[in-house]
């Protein structure tokens, strides 16, 4: 994997996943596609990064998952945000905005 891209993903992957799922329910491939869609193709999350993150976030209690049927009748594991997950999304969004604002003003400074 491109190391630059990894570095970029490191801090933001959790936030992207939480945001991508939002109030809906997605399986792994669905989350991957949704991230591509909402970032206009800037991020392509590979399964080797996605699944460890999903499992880790579920272990942390932010996501819950259950088996279900996909749109083309395949058995798939669907993820949704727990109450803690929604709270986490709020926190990480606020945090991200602070960082983004700070970086932006730093870059604007002369």
């Amino acid at each position: 994997m491109d190391p630059n891209r990894t570095a970029l993903l490191q801090g933001t992957l959790d936030l992207l996943i939480l945001k991508a799922i939002g109030s809906a329910e997605f399986h792994g491939l669905g989350i991957s596609r949704r991230i591509e869609q909402i970032t206009h193709g800037a991020f392509h999350v590979k399964p080797g990064s996605l699944f460890p993150a999903l499992h880790r976030m579920e272990e942390a209690g932010w996501l819950s998952s259950a088996w279900g049927e996909s749109e083309n009748n395949r058995r798939a594991r669907f993820y949704r945000l727990t109450k803690a997950g929604h709270r986490q999304l709020g926190e990480e969004t606020a945090q991200w905005n602070r960082v983004a604002l700070a970086i932006a003003s730093a870059l604007k400074a002369t």
Binding site: G28, L29, F51, P52, H55, G61, A76, A84
Partner: protein, 880 residues
């Protein structure tokens, strides 16, 4: 909350693995299916869609593994997996594993044992209150800088110093065991009334001595050690205040010391740890300025006092005491203050540090061997390693695997080492070299356990470096293509450097051993000035001249006895010593305090009995007593010091004798009637002081040692001797019935111990280094079988092959020898203090060790070389 959730998850991951795995597997499969469906929907053929989906996802097993690596409890999970795998690897090659563990057990065990002593002796504070404020104080006069004090001097020093809470003195002599029961001679300490408080917080029973015990008419009081109290008085708590029989007197027991109390003094202070009874000696105004110097002085610095300030104050005191007209009046009286702990270990310290260096060398050599073994195995396992890498194991994970294996080896080795170290400690304590005799308690305590653990860990990290480096170079495509047997065989610079290092370390160890063995042989052959063969000795406590004279006469008439006599101090015995200043007639004040000699009280016939050589003049006779002219016999060393180039016979010498009774010393003139060859009284290797002999009636002593020279092959005289002593006086204790040879052997013990241990260590080192050379060379031959086969097939003669492999071996050995030589130039001089009669740079020793290492290395290299030369080219090539 998140933490609790993660812990719960970790438990599920660890204990319900199959469930968790099944879910992960299904999920990853479903992902691949969904991706395939997506590609089919985009218009690809099903097979092509499947292939692309798998390629895009980067491998299903890799996904599963990355989830496993990241999930809660993964570290622990990986560790158990690594451990299980490591155990399997170790079990798979039992010979390698047991060789490695054995090497480690020996290497670490030796370090554990020696560190236990370093810890107990050098690192642990002395078992006294405020040990860091304790100092020993030595007086210096003439050529001795470590001399004792007289009562007068201690009193004057106390008056003139402010930096000390206390200054106390001790002198040890022989005395009688207190209490009723069989008479027994023991070590008794005369101490100033403030002495015990310095080394002990409070007595187990009763009290310490106090100022009241210094009063002129104070009753006789004694303090018992816990040991005497238990064995003589049955641990009777009502002993305090009771008057008990004490030799020819009675004394009141005022205190019992705690069981943990130990007397630890420098070896050269003549204060043995075996003291059993303490009596007080007053240090009061009015002592004789010319009085004998006998007190060893220790002090406790005032809280906050600085050693340098205390020393400066002592220097001023010494100058003032010089002017008081005592024995110190010659102007070179000095006082030195030394930290007590450092002072007590000054004899054992160099031995211990040398041993610590030696065992560290052995461990390093062992470490190099194990590194070589593991590296060779890592090469054999290269294909397996490569496959694991191809299946998704990260390099870090592979390196961790090697580290786990090494640490597992290290810990197993460390456990065996603890057992071995424990045994070694007890073996060393049983051998009891004299300089260790003060240290009887050497536990495997927390610092030692921590040390062993750390050494095991550090060693395993050290020897796992080599195989770990080999993983770094794993190249999937190349390594998978190469055949297993040839895979990764590159003759590593590492391997040869390791073997060279082993040879260098072994060379230095062997060199040191050579020096210590030469020292031991020199000591064995050192002339003690007497002949111990067929001489046996025993000690008696005596009330005076008549009984010992009678015993001497009765002994001489025993069949098989050639001569019998008695002396106050046997050679090489650690009994409380007595020495003083001596001068010739007309000596200036400076000369009066420049020559010191050991004072010996004897009966006639002593020199014949012990086999000393009377160089000129005559021996004492029974008529040499206080009523006739006072006479003395001196040794040749004293004769040279007092009358260089002159005949000492008939000269007058000033000495302190005590014709009026025990210890009632007075200065007196005596005529020199004989000169004997110097007898080694203190050690076999150094002339500590010359000796002067005085007839017993001039210098009566309460304790004398008999010396009985028997015809060779005479039966044991223990029973008749006891009968004789009993017939003279039933109350005379008789102890230490032992052959003179035993005292000589005891004096050899230190050097025997050092050379034995060094021999053991360097033998292990040499064997390990040989295993190293042999192992690496054998491996190289096995790897090069095909190459050698080809060489022979195209006409290389066997001798050339033999030479080639031998040259390979020597390409490692020679640089090692060179490095060892350079290293030894730095290290050998550190041994100087332990050597006798041989210089660290002794060329013969260098030559011998050089040849030895070369010969043994040649042997270790020859076996694989011959195997190489006997390779049948046909078989070798077919095998390929």
């Amino acid at each position: 909350m998140a933490l609790i959730a993660r812990i719960r998850a970790a438990f599920r991951n660890l204990f319900r693995r199959s469930e968790v795995e099944a879910r992960l597997d299904a999920e990853v499969r479903s992902y691949a299916d969904l991706l395939t469906d997506e590609k089919i929907a985009a218009g690809l053929a099903p097979a092509e869609a499947r292939r692309r989906a798998l390629a895009e996802s980067g491998g299903l097993e890799q996904i599963r593994q990355s989830v496993r690596d990241r999930r809660a409890g993964a570290t622990l999970d990986n560790l158990t997996q690594d451990l299980r795998y490591a155990l399997r690897q170790l079990r798979r090659s039992p010979s390698l594993t047991s060789l490695a563990i054995l090497t480690l057990a020996i290497g670490i065990g030796a370090n554990t044992a020696i560190f236990s002593f370093v810890n107990a002796v050098l690192l642990r504070p002395l078992p006294y209150p405020d040990p860091d404020r304790l100092v020993s104080v030595w007086s210096g006069l003439g050529y001795s800088g470590r001399a004792p004090f007289s009562s007068f001097e201690l009193f004057e020093v106390r008056r003139r110093t402010t930096q000390f809470d206390q200054l106390a003195g001790i002198w040890v002599t022989n005395g009688a065991l207190p209490g009723d029961g069989p008479a027994e001679q023991i070590k008794v300490a005369d101490v100033t009334s403030n002495f015990l408080q310095l080394l002990c917080i409070r007595p187990a029973l009763g009290r310490f001595f106090g100022p009241g015990d210094d009063l002129p008419n104070a009753p006789n009081t004694i303090i018992l050690t816990h040991g005497v109290w238990a064995r003589r008085f049955g641990s009777d708590p009502s002993i305090i205040g009771r008057s008990v029989r004490y030799g020819r007197y009675r004394a009141t027991v005022i205190g019992v010391l705690p069981a943990s109390f130990r007397l630890i003094f420098p070896d050269d202070s003549s204060i043995p740890a075996t003291v059993e009874v303490f009596e007080s000696v007053p240090v009061v105004p009015g002592a004789d300025p010319q009085g004998p110097a006998f007190l060893r002085v220790i002090g406790r610095l005032r809280n906050g006092a600085i050693a340098a300030t205390a020393q400066a104050e002592m220097n001023r005191a010494a100058v003032e005491i010089n002017q008081l007209g005592g024995r110190a009046s010659m102007g070179n009286f000095t006082l030195s203050v030394l930290p007590f702990q450092a002072d007590t270990v000054r004899d054992i310290r160099p031995t211990l540090l040398c041993l610590a260096g030696g065992v560290a060398f052995v461990l390093l050599i062992g470490c190099a061997n194990i590194a070589n073994l593991l590296m060779a195995r890592a090469r054999q396992r290269l294909r397996e390693t490569t496959i694991r890498a191809a299946l998704g194991a990260s390099r870090a994970r592979l390196a961790r695997q090697f580290l786990t294996e090494s640490v597992l080896l290290g810990i197993l080795g460390g456990l065996c080492a603890l057992a071995l170290g424990y045994a070694a400690i007890h073996a060393i304590l049983a051998a009891r070299p004299p300089s260790f005799s003060n240290f009887t308690h050497v536990p495997l305590d927390a610092p030692v356990l921590a040390f062993t653990f750390l050494v095991a860990l550090a060693t395993s990290v050290l020897f796992s470096l080599a195989p770990m480096l080999s993983v770094r170079r794993v190249d999937l495509t190349r390594d998978l293509k190469e055949s297993t047997r040839q895979a990764g065989f590159r003759r590593g610079r590492w391997t040869s450097a390791l073997v060279s290092a082993e040879v260098a370390l072994a060379f230095v160890l062997l060199l040191a051993t050579g020096l210590l063995m030469r020292t031991f042989v020199n000591i064995l052959h050192a002339d003690p000035g007497f002949r111990p063969a067929n001489v046996f000795t025993f000690r008696v406590s005596t009330p005076g001249y008549a009984p010992i004279h009678l015993i001497q006469q009765k002994l001489a008439s025993l069949p098989g006895v050639e001569s019998a006599s008695a002396i106050s101090h046997l050679p090489l015995d650690n009994a409380g010593n007595w020495y003083d200043y001596y001068w010739k007639e007309g000596a200036s004040l400076a000369e009066q305090t420049s020559v010191m000699a050991d004072h010996r009280s004897t009966l006639p016939g002593y020199f014949a009995a012990i086999g000393a050589t009377l160089l000129e003049g005559r021996d004492f006779t029974d008529s040499d007593d206080a009523q006739h002219q006072h006479v003395a016999i001196i040794d040749d060393v004293l004769a040279r010091q007092l009358w260089p180039g002159q005949d000492p016979l008939g000269q007058k010498i000033n000495l302190s004798d005590s014709p009026k009774g025990f210890y009632q010393f007075q200065r007196d003139w005596a005529v020199v009637i004989g000169v004997v060859h110097h007898v080694q009284y203190h050690s076999l290797t150094a002339i500590v002081r010359p000796q002067i002999y005085v007839p017993y009636p001039l210098a009566p002593r309460p304790s004398m040692s008999f010396v009985v020279h028997t015809a060779s092959g005479a039966a044991s005289l223990a029973a008749p001797v006891r009968a004789i002593v009993d017939s003279v006086n039933r109350d005379m204790p008789i102890t230490h019935v032992e052959p003179m040879q035993l005292l000589v052997d005891r004096a050899h013990a230190e050097s025997r111990f050092a050379s034995l241990l060094a021999t053991l260590l360097s033998t292990i080192a040499l064997v390990l280094a040989c295993i190293g050379i042999y192992g690496v060379l054998s491996y190289s031959v096995a790897q090069r079988t095909a190459e050698i086969g080809i060489r022979m097939a195209i006409g290389a003669p066997r001798t050339q092959v033999l030479r080639m492999i031998l040259a390979d071996g020597f390409a490692w050995v020679l640089p090692g020898l060179l490095a060892g030589f350079v290293l030894s130039l730095l290290i050998a001089p550190l041994l100087t203090g332990l050597l006798f009669g041989v210089a660290p740079g002794n060329p013969l020793n260098y030559a011998l060790i050089f040849v030895l290492v070369l010969a043994v290395s040649a042997l270790a290299a020859f076996i694989p070389a011959r195997r190489a030369a006997s390779i049948d080219p046909l078989i070798a090539l077919r095998y390929e």
